[in-house]
């Protein structure tokens, strides 16, 4: 039987606010345990939550960016359950009336046609703390620094049909929240993570199969891996005559397997109800329009502009707009370089990303800044150096030897464009190689390259190649 895979994702994006969603404590990552948890975060008796307006603005921004409805009236609800790292015994979230409803996003898996994925809703909620099971000798430590950190939970429709699509969707959201500057996207620190709802059904069937929920997938690779493993497991279960049960499963990346955490019967009754400590969130049209005005150019718009205005190919534009940082880098470099955006694109995608990849660095950590690269490209464009010499200049800049002009100056890499000087060198080479000259003139055209090589060798690659070609043709004729 041929199976169709059905996937929906719940992405948790940590909003990049300075303080927590309901308290004034800092959200900075990495502080010593419990040093960033105030009385509100600790859930002490008598304390009350006060909503962080910045978190609301960020949620609204996201909603507008995915073409969703930013709700004029949404409600915070308590999700009740006991857990040691959940200080109040409930999480403040949104349940029946979320702040963002009904958006969509177009995704593209390489080699396939683009698809539109529905976004059911996005709601604001607070994060829990962290339980630490190591170093406590049979006990558990609780770090509440993360408690109260604002999260935007983005829930998709079950519209994805492969692990690759799920990853493409997740990457697209990951890029989008960074474009919007509402999330730092740092997956290692848990700022961006997701749960996947996975089910299978016979191809062509309408009815959805029973799903399992895969928890806390914190890398793109794990999402793909976990989904594929889970799909295989479900197929095995069904084809073996069994039934998939609705349950929550945990992906274990060490063992590369998913295993059951709890079944539907064991699922919590969260007893959601509107939080009486918080008034409903009311956002009027003027507010929503004001937020709309702050929206930056979004990835798809940027990509289209790179193609139409800068003359990049679809693929290049796609790669360069995948993250806002890379797109910004490219644009700065291209502006400084002056003309030939395509050349800038090639350098960024080729030499720069290659070097970064080799060094295991992110674009933000590049030793060669956009300004440095742009400055160098300017020197190619104005014929100060050739593309070949530029590779040498790039390496020097990467090693911190200064900007392109400094490197060119110090290493004497300036292209020789003085016709007389080149002519003199050509004359000498012709005089020193009479045999090759005869053979060339007798019709052995290939030897033209030999002469070019000799000139370049003599000028240490600095002669303007076009000029060399032209002069050699005259002299050898």
């Amino acid at each position: 039987m041929e199976w169709e895979i059905v996937i929906g994702l719940e992405i948790h994006a940590q909003l990049a606010t300075k303080s927590k969603i309901f308290s004034g404590a800092s959200t900075a990552y990495g502080a010593p345990p419990n040093t960033q948890a105030c009385a509100v975060d600790l859930g002490l008796p008598g304390v009350l939550p006060v909503l962080n307006k910045e978190a609301v603005r960020m949620a609204a921004k996201f909603g507008l960016a995915v073409g969703a409805r930013v709700s004029p009236h949404s409600v915070f609800a308590r999700k009740n359950y006991f857990y040691p790292d959940l200080p109040k015994g409930y999480q403040i979230s949104q349940f029946e009336l979320p702040v963002v409803e009904g958006g969509q996003l177009e995704i593209q898996v390489e080699g396939e046609t683009a698809r539109v994925i529905g976004i059911t809703r996005a709601h604001l909620e607070e994060d829990a703390g962290k339980s630490l099971h190591e170093d406590f000798h049979g006990s558990t430590g609780i770090d509440l620094n993360r408690a109260g950190t604002p999260l935007l939970e983005i829930v998709s429709e079950p519209d994805m049909r492969s692990a690759k699509e799920a990853v493409a969707y997740m990457k697209k959201i990951h890029s989008l929240v960074q474009y919007l500057e509402i999330c730092d996207g740092n997956m290692q620190e848990g700022s961006f993570r997701c749960d996947a709802n996975v089910s299978i059904r016979p191809k062509g069937h309408e009815a959805l199969g029973t799903r399992s929920e895969l928890k806390n997938l914190n890398s793109f690779r794990f999402v793909e891996r976990a989904i594929n493993i889970e799909v295989e497991r479900q197929i095995d279960v069904i084809e073996g005559g069994g039934k998939v049960v609705q349950e929550t499963r945990l992906y274990d990346s060490d063992k590369d397997e998913t295993r059951s955490m709890r079944s539907k019967e064991e699922a919590f009754d969260y007893r959601y109800f509107p939080d009486p400590d918080l008034l409903p969130l009311e956002l009027d049209e003027a507010y929503i329009e004001a937020v709309r005005k702050t929206l930056p150019e979004l990835p798809d718009e940027k990509k289209a502009r790179f193609i139409s205005e800068l003359g990049l190919a679809e693929y290049e534009a796609g790669v360069l707009t995948a993250s806002r940082e890379l797109a910004d880098y490219f644009e700065v470099a291209a502006r400084i370089a002056g003309d030939d955006a395509k050349r800038t694109a090639n350098w960024v995608m080729g030499d720069l990303l290659g070097a970064l990849n080799k060094a295991g660095k992110e674009i933000g950590e590049s030793p060669v800044s956009a300004a440095l690269l742009g400055g160098m490209l300017q020197r190619i464009n104005d014929n100060t150096i050739s593309g070949k010499i530029a590779k040498q200049v790039f390496e020097c800049m990467w090693n911190g030897e200064g900007d392109a002009d400094t490197v060119i100056e110090q290493k004497g890499l300036k292209q020789v464009t003085d016709g007389g000087a080149i002519e003199k060198i050509i004359d000498e080479i012709i005089a020193n190689n009479p045999q090759q000259l005869d053979q060339y003139r007798a019709g052995k055209d290939k030897l033209f390259g030999f002469f070019v090589g000799q000139v370049m060798k003599e000028t240490q690659g600095k002669a303007n190649p076009a000029q060399v070609n032209q002069l050699l043709k005259q002299k050898l004729a």
Partner: protein, 487 residues
């Protein structure tokens, strides 16, 4: 110093400002009275003697410097539901027997700023759940008018202390009548302000959408002085309301000629004790003599108030009390075997029976499959109850009736019958459901026990309530009666 303990706050404030008495002298007097009578009444959980004397000395310096506010140097008591920095804050529960609050509630902080002197923290029903002050972990509180009777609840310690003249005023909180009912049972003036008028920050939550702090005093004039300190917007409480705070003392003497009083017929039916009814009738007649016009009104959903309240309040308290889990503060059981054991034994040992009962009711009504039938329905009825009042206030200025159906009952009389106990709040609960302000003022006695008259006002109409109460207190002296044993 003669009989300073029977003076009103207004009188004490004047004496302090004139230098006739010092705050240290006053504070010492009340501390001595607490020491003498608390063993009998059990109205204080914690006495803060050293802090009180230090605060009194500071207040005296402030008064001397001519920098005194109306309450500077005046001793008061706080219900042990307000977090007070560095002082044990128990909510009368074993769960918080070891809890020293690391911060100050907004309400008590305002009193500190005003220069008032805290004598101690008063006893109460555990987590404010009760109408007799019998659910306290620290034992029942006695009514100074009759030591065999309850003072009412949940602010039972506050009213007992003020009625026995162990403190000239106290704070209380009112979720379903917890200021007004005990004020009525102990012959005091108690005001529950409009929901949102006084900050709830640092006040340990029972039912967040109903809880409201207010003053317990001898007179309306004193209540106004306390309200001038307590009321106001607080950015740390999202449900506090950002609207102007009037000077509550300014309009006390306004004429009430032509005041339109509504008497809800549902407040005078079968459940009301005849003796109480007679006192209320007499009080209403007094108002007519003062020029007010009385008409009968109907609050048709009155009978639904108690059952609705016992869905909403337990629902909210069941989750408000989830934070008491033995993990970060409060009672933790000995030698927990695992997480489940830690939770169940810590909570099982830490909470008393009434608190457990309400947590269970609340958990039940919020559960999947029951939510719509109970919680959602209760919210709808709550709206109907509010609408009743809204309609009534289209034709009347103030609604009056009894505060409680009976006078103070005997200790133990209703302790094993929760439903009968719940019905003692039958006239007060609807006010909390609607979020309206209401006061209880002393209106006379029935068989030697105080009877309270309830005045219900429109939203943020506390000034008028205090004015209406004050005019009555100018014409009567019920509010100045002192129980014989505490004169």
């Amino acid at each position: 110093m003669t009989a300073m303990h029977t003076k009103t706050i207004a009188q004490l404030s004047a004496a302090l400002h004139r230098g006739e008495v010092s705050s240290v002298e006053l504070t010492t007097l009340f501390l001595e009275r607490i020491k003498a009578h608390n063993p009998t009444l059990n109205c204080f959980i914690t006495m803060t003697e050293a802090q009180a004397l230090a605060a009194a000395a500071a207040a005296d310096r402030r008064l001397k410097a001519g920098d005194g506010a109306p309450l500077t140097g005046v001793p008061i008591a706080h219900k042990d539901i307000f977090c007070t920095a560095g002082v044990k804050t128990t909510c009368a529960s074993k769960m918080l027997d070891n809890f020293i609050a690391p911060y100050e509630s907004t309400c008590t902080a305002k009193f500190i700023e005003a220069g008032a002197v805290m004598l101690g923290k008063t006893n109460m029903d555990e987590f404010a759940m009760g109408s007799s002050n019998e659910t306290s972990y620290y034992g029942a509180v006695k009514n100074p008018w009759d030591l065999e009777r309850v003072p009412g609840g949940s602010s039972g310690g506050s009213v007992s202390a003020v009625a026995a003249r162990l403190a000239p005023a106290a704070t209380g909180t009112d979720t379903g009548g917890s200021i007004r009912q005990p004020a009525a049972l102990c012959g005091l003036t108690g005001l529950k302000p409009t929901y949102g008028r006084v900050s709830r920050f640092g006040m340990i939550a029972f039912a967040s959408s109903l809880d409201q702090a207010g003053p317990i005093t001898y007179s309306a004039e004193d209540a106004a002085l306390l309200m001038n300190v307590m009321a106001g917007f607080d950015e740390r409480d999202s449900t506090s309301v950002d609207c102007e705070v009037p000077d509550y003392s300014a309009n006390l003497d306004n004429s009430i000629e032509g005041l339109k009083i509504g008497l809800p017929k549902e407040y005078f039916d079968g459940g009301l004790d005849d003796r109480v009814a007679r006192v209320i009738d007499a009080a209403v007649k007094e108002y007519e003599a003062l020029g007010a016009v009385v008409k009968e009104i109907s609050l048709s959903n009155t009978a639904l108030a108690v059952p609705t309240y016992y869905v909403v309040a337990p629902a909210e308290c069941s989750t408000n009390l989830s934070r008491f889990d033995g993990v970060r503060f409060g009672h933790r059981c000995d030698d927990p075997q695992d997480l489940f054991d830690l939770y169940t034994r810590s909570r099982g040992e830490g909470f008393g029976a009434e608190v457990k009962r309400r947590i269970m009711i609340g958990t039940y009504v919020l559960s999947a499959g029951y939510y719509d039938a109970y919680y959602l329905k209760a919210q709808k009825i709550r709206r109907l109850i509010s609408d009743d009042f809204r309609t009534a206030f289209e034709t009347v200025d103030v609604i009056m009736g009894p505060t409680a159906p009976t006078t103070a009952f005997k200790l133990g009389e209703k302790a094993d019958d929760p439903v009968t106990m719940y019905l003692s709040d039958i006239y007060t609960i609807a006010v909390n459901m609607a979020g309206l302000p209401a006061a209880s003022i002393p209106a006379g006695f029935a068989d030697g026990l105080p009877v309270g008259l309830q005045l219900i006002g429109n939203y943020f109409d506390e000034s008028r309530l205090l004015n209406v109460a004050h005019k009555y207190q100018q014409a009567t002296d019920w509010h100045l009666q002192v129980p014989t044993a505490f004169k």
